[in-house]
């Protein structure tokens, strides 16, 4: 029986389809990680603003994104937005948006943490050599903050990759769904298919996320 199971993966285009699904996951993850990194840095800096209003606004955004499940965000952006504004957005685009919104919030919080953990005299030394506030951020604060937040940021990236499987709700088919399609097709003939398919997916995720974690560790060590 079990040697049947693994065959399922090599029937037809199945293995390729799984890889394609992984490609979809990765595409969403990469796009949203890039957007989140850029926007997250700005959000993080805003969160260290001296104006209470700005800070609490950012904070509310963060809390809102954290509390409302991604599933709901997907529904809202894909279905509700269309119903209310008649805006037809492609599903994968919506996935990118939602994951970016989430990633930006989380990344912003990490950036805030990293920036506030820098000693105050770094900022002051920057000012003391005549840099403008923006230049201080650009040359002094951010380069150091980025080094500090790297481990947790990578953590977030792997989490985002793993969470992409939610997008199936708005019809974007990624690796996990393709796995389930393969499994369900074999429901009567190859009941053990699920183990093999899930094992492959487990492995695929691992093979993507692990090197990223390793790379982060490497950088962390190098920047000590």
């Amino acid at each position: 029986m079990s040697d049947w199971g693994i065959n399922v993966i090599f029937q037809g285009q199945n293995f390729l389809r799984l890889l394609e699904g992984l490609g979809v996951s990765m595409r969403i993850a990469v796009v949203s990680v890039l957007i989140s990194s850029v926007c997250g840095i700005f959000l993080g800096l805003l969160m260290t603003s001296r104006y209470v209003a700005v800070r609490s606004l950012c904070r509310s955004y963060l809390e809102a994104v954290r509390i409302v499940p991604l599933l709901v965000w997907l529904f809202v952006f894909y279905f509700e937005l269309t119903k209310v504004l008649h805006l037809q957005l492609p599903a994968e685009f919506v996935a990118d948006i939602v994951f970016s919104i989430w990633g930006t919030a989380e990344m912003g919080d990490l950036v805030r943490g990293a920036v506030t953990s820098l000693p105050a005299h770094q900022r002051e030394s920057g000012l003391a050599v005549g840099l403008t506030r923006w230049q201080v951020y650009r040359y002094v604060i951010l380069p150091q903050a980025v080094r500090r937040l790297l481990p947790s940021a990578i953590n977030l990236v792997t989490r985002m990759i793993k969470t992409t499987s939610l997008v199936v709700l708005i019809g974007v088919v990624e690796v996990l769904k393709i796995g389930q399609q393969i499994i369900e097709v074999s429901i009567l003939k190859v009941p053990t298919a699920s183990f093999w398919v899930y094992a492959i997916i487990f492995f695929l995720y691992f093979i993507i996320c692990w090197p990223i974690s390793l790379w982060a560790k490497h950088l962390e060590k190098r920047w000590q």
């Binding site: 029937q11 037809g12 285009q13 199945n14 389809r17 394609e20 699904g21 979809v24 529904f75 894909y78 279905f79 509700e80 269309t82 119903k83 504004l85 008649h86 805006l87 037809q88 957005l89 492609p90 599903a91 994968e92 685009f93 199936v168 709700l169 708005i170 019809g171 974007v172 088919v173 990624e174 769904k177 393709i178 389930q180 399609q181 393969i182 499994i183 369900e184 097709v185 074999s186 429901i187 009567l188 003939k189 009941p191 298919a193 699920s194």
Partner: protein, 267 residues
């Protein structure tokens, strides 16, 4: 699979424009189908949509647009079947969509093209032959299926174990996590035949439920067209052909066509 959603950002045309005109202009009929519910709607090993619903969808496209491939499949989940219509993501939902009063409030169902009854499968050693035997035991069902709705409404005191995927539900039955499993009797029969040690103790349960195409609420033009279509197809016994092509290979002779197929929208 996901290339179904290649349309660019655009606002949907004003609702006054004829719905069928819109489809014709687009040149594609958009249909919501399942991707993991063989043999009704699934994706085969080559990535192509297949199944009873899909076969029907191709025919609709052919009759509306003159090309059976002028159809765009939007893969959907049980929980999103109505949303895709309401948000104008598709024109028709053909996703094993059982007609219920609650759903009727949200979408317009056309004439049915299939019927199901529930079956309950259980281990041969401890067969469940009557619903009353399930009191105080766990019954396995699938989320979003007729079985779930039926038991939730009629037997609220039976504890339901609800799974997302059919395979998982059957696996759970095998692992003994519930006393029995309730699902469409067609699937249950077919599964029991492949898995010795299990029998379908209850072969028909409750009212016969019908499965019908659904369109967005108020889209009477398309609704009427689909109704006409179903009637027309009845004349040529289309759904029997559909059955032979898609269901027979999966179910074999465990299911008789007339237990499933509805021709011309008439039970």
């Amino acid at each position: 699979g996901s290339d179904a959603q290649t349309d660019k950002v655009k606002t949907s045309a004003s609702s006054s424009a004829s719905a069928i005109e819109q489809i014709k202009q687009r040149g594609k009929l958009r249909v919501a189908v399942f991707s993991d519910k063989p043999p009704f709607g699934y994706v085969d090993q080559n990535g192509k949509n297949q199944g009873y619903d899909v076969y029907f969808a191709h025919r609709l496209a052919k009759d509306l647009l003159g090309d059976e491939n002028a159809v765009e499949f939007v893969l959907t989940e049980a929980a999103a079947r109505i949303e895709v219509l309401e948000a104008d993501k598709v024109d028709i939902t053909l996703a094993n969509f059982t007609v219920t009063p609650e759903r009727k409030e949200k979408v317009d169902f056309a004439a049915p093209y299939m019927k199901v009854a529930l079956g309950v499968v259980s281990p041969t050693g401890e067969p469940v032959t009557d619903v009353s035997q399930l009191k105080g035991k766990k019954l396995i069902v699938n989320k979003g299926t007729t079985a779930e709705t039926y038991f939730a409404k009629n037997y609220p005191d039976i504890e339901l174990l609800k799974y997302d995927q059919n395979t998982e539900a059957f696996q759970a039955l095998k692992d003994g996590r519930g006393a029995a499993l309730a699902h469409d009797n067609t699937l249950v029969f077919a599964w029991a035949r492949e898995n010795p040690g299990f029998t379908v103790g209850i072969t028909k349960l409750g009212d016969l439920d019908t499965i019908a195409p659904a369109v967005k609420k108020g889209n009477t033009e398309l609704l009427n067209w689909v109704n006409d279509e179903v009637t027309k197809l009845g004349a040529e016994n289309f759904f029997h052909k559909d059955f032979e092509t898609t269901l027979l290979p999966a179910y074999g002779d465990s299911v008789k066509p007339d237990d499933v197929v509805v021709e011309g929208g008439k039970l």
